[in-house]
Symmetry: C2
Subunit: 463 residues, 2 copies
């Protein structure tokens, strides 16, 4: 039985349904503050996550609450918003209705789908068990446990080969997340764990960063890629570009280098493998039953609408669209980054506000698709790219200015603190970083789960 949830408001106010409260969904919700609409925000998590710092939770530098805030707390002052922690299991765009996992359904006049992205293993889903990715807090906790337990197992294992495998960390994919993970893992091995082990030397750990393309941080100019690679090597990371992963199992990674006659396959024994290579759009996009691109993203027009539905917007990592460049003419795909998601959210909200004046039933509008290069189409403003590599090392590309090293790191720090959610979180994260900077320590080195059950435990002996 599907029960219709009354919003408890006069039906005259248009109902805006926002699926997902990441950067895009949150920006759209906030842009509709004070508007004469009834907004329902749906998310399957109870928190908005500051994903750019998720790798810090995975590497024990920050605690989860520092980068995650309860959605309903962030939106408590916005009286036209109802927040529901539920999952969407179907979208009926003809009826204007969304089916929820608890058996209820919700009607809408406007729909903004901002469900984000997940990992993609390029069709090799069996790799997921051995090479976890990093998109949610659960992922971060699982990865933190893996990394810390690998050092623990190396200390307790009597077998040198197993010790070496425990002390080998492979990061696949040298985008910003992969570079940050690899740099931080090297820092943990060289500095954080110093003097804490008796049978192993954590500094002897290998950290490998594997990348299929010819350079790290592809999105940045080649000079910055080179600088980032040099900084990674200085930290002790083995960087391997142009190297294709062809297999992952519980024991390690199989890589192929070269092509054709010079192709060679190598096996790297490693207990901990991190997947930072592929991103795919949320499976929620399929529920819209419209054309998707190769990465599963929903193809939207210049107004961020799906074909024939001016009341349905898809934004953020889930949307595939193009944007005019600063020259005003050439089109370039909008990248899957948080500034783009925020800008799309604000744009979709503005479109909704516009259609409210004069008040008209949105379904009655018959708008042709808006080309991405038409006036009024969504335009992504690119303020540049930033990636940190480790302590005191980062690269920055602001378009008009490129720089790297200590100053870039300070800049990265400032930007991330600035965009963090909430005054309190900013202060806490700043304190945690100051602490980490001076003490070389990472304070969140806590694994909630106890030791893994032994696969081959001997029966217990008793006197």
């Amino acid at each position: 039985m599907n029960t219709f949830i009354s919003t408890g408001q006069p039906a005259a106010r248009p109902r805006v349904l926002i699926i997902g409260c990441g950067f895009g969904g949150l920006a759209a919700t906030r842009a509709l503050a004070g508007a004469p609409v009834d907004i329902t925000v749906i998310d399957r998590s109870n928190h908005h996550l500051f994903q750019p710092l998720l790798y810090q939770v995975a590497t024990a530098g920050l605690s989860a609450p520092s980068i995650a805030a309860p959605i309903r707390h962030m939106l408590r002052g916005q009286r036209n918003v109802t927040v529901l922690m539920v999952e969407v299991c179907g979208i009926d765009r003809q009826q204007g209705r969304v089916q929820l996992s608890d058996g209820q359904s919700l009607g809408y006049d406007y729909l903004i789908v901002a469900a984000g992205a997940t990992h993609s293993y390029f069709g090799r889903d069996e790799w997921a068990a051995h090479a976890p990715g990093l998109k949610t807090l659960q992922d971060a906790f699982a990865l933190r446990a893996r990394v810390l337990k690998a050092f623990e197992q190396a200390e307790s294992s009597p077998d040198p080969a197993q010790q070496r495998a425990c002390l080998s960390f492979v990061v696949i994919g040298a985008g910003p997340t992969g570079v940050e993970m690899a740099g931080t893992l090297a820092e943990i091995a060289r500095h954080t764990l110093k003097n804490e082990f008796r049978r192993i030397d954590p500094a002897s750990a290998r950290v490998l960063l594997l990348e299929g393309s010819p350079r790290v941080l592809q999105a940045l100019p080649p000079e910055l890629s080179a600088k980032a690679e040099a900084q990674l090597r200085a930290l002790g990371v083995e960087v391997r570009t142009g190297c294709r992963v062809v297999g992952i199992d519980a024991g390690g990674v199989e890589v192929q280098t070269g092509e054709g006659a010079v192709a060679a396959t190598e096996r790297i024994a490693a207990r901990t493998v991190v997947w930072a290579a592929g991103v795919a759009a949320s499976p929620l996009g399929r529920m819209l039953d419209v054309p998707l691109d190769r990465a599963g993203r929903v193809v939207v027009d210049g107004r961020l609408n799906i074909p024939g539905h001016p009341e349905v917007f898809v934004i953020g990592d889930l949307a595939a669209t193009q944007s005019r460049q600063s020259d005003g003419r050439t089109l370039k795909p909008v990248p899957g980054v948080s500034p783009a998601a925020k800008q799309m959210g604000a744009y979709a909200a503005a479109q909704i506000l516009q259609s409210l004046h004069p008040l008209q039933a949105p379904q009655a509008q018959v708008l042709p698709p808006l080309p991405a290069d038409a006036p009024g189409a969504f335009r992504y403003r690119d303020y540049g790219a930033l990636a940190t590599i480790g302590r005191k090392a980062a690269v920055a590309d602001l378009g008009f200015l490129q720089f790297s090293g200590y100053f870039a790191w300070l800049f990265w720090l400032f930007v991330h603190i600035y965009f963090l959610i909430g005054f309190r979180n900013r202060l806490v994260v700043l304190m945690d970083w100051a602490w980490a900077y001076w003490s070389f320590q990472r304070y969140a080195r806590v694994v909630a789960e106890p030791v893994d059950p032994a696969p081959s435990a001997s029966p217990s002996i008793k006197p």
Copy 2:
């Protein structure tokens, strides 16, 4: 195959094996700093946990790393200690050897068993699934998720009966943990969640504290129990003493009040039930194959030894022993509290140090059991009891002085900050509390797991 782990030191130094790094194990390890022994500390967790504040993690007031520190980090400066994160699966006290879950075994000359306690459901283990207890970080996270999700489900549910059940919280057992949990839950409902919901009023939540005995905080004098109960009621907690729980299931709790002819059974519908009633010793005690008391604790003599084994000590919550009172004559059972565990740890370490001078093979000693009232037997120094009830309310019993209210709360705060592990944690917890105090907010309101899979989800609809 059992591999013997070499400690990498000349065999002449006696090997001390410490199982469990709670308050007792940690105190024993630290008391042996600098001693000519090789210590191995075994724990199945990677962290020492400050259990008195665990309820703050469960109620989203603190993040886990604030009250948990990596054991090997705490002990990194003590060069005679090796830390292993493994589980014990057998103890052979004749051979002086401990079997580990990873198939290895460890020999010892001295053994300190400090494995602590777990929940006891008084033989009703089926209650565990519906009424989780609070002993580990995992427990705290699970409880935090339950509490926060209950409010979420109340907001999204269209059924008033279900909403009421979601907004009913039952805490079973009015010891310090139960009182702290109930007080904090009431505070969350009345203050923290204010203005954050649109369809429910979180302040309408019921918090029930059930206790079988006639008063709360049994360990304190009756006047303080009465004050604590009054403070709980002022916070909005329904306190029910003399009420026996006879059933717990997914829908709530069944309680019996009165005896014989006036006995009555009542059902309380509640989605969230917290178990703070029963404590049982760790099952590890059984591996020693010696007499246990009714709660599963190992009965030790005045030297904290098991019968016939002066080289084996059992300390902390796992040990059952008595101690002379301040009058020096009457014996009283040593309570299962952290000061007792610390004192036992220091005592066991002192016994080991004593037996090293003159150097003698400890197994060769033939010592008769030491009565608990003999000179030199372990003596528990009781510095008093403290319990907090919520914001600005607590009760304190220092023996010579009893007080309650705001000043007791400040005292509680000071004591807990003082005994917290590590300078950094003290500072962070103090900051978190200052924040909570002024803002009424609890910053760790994060649930890592997304929404529960719906038990009866309709098949997804698609256009």
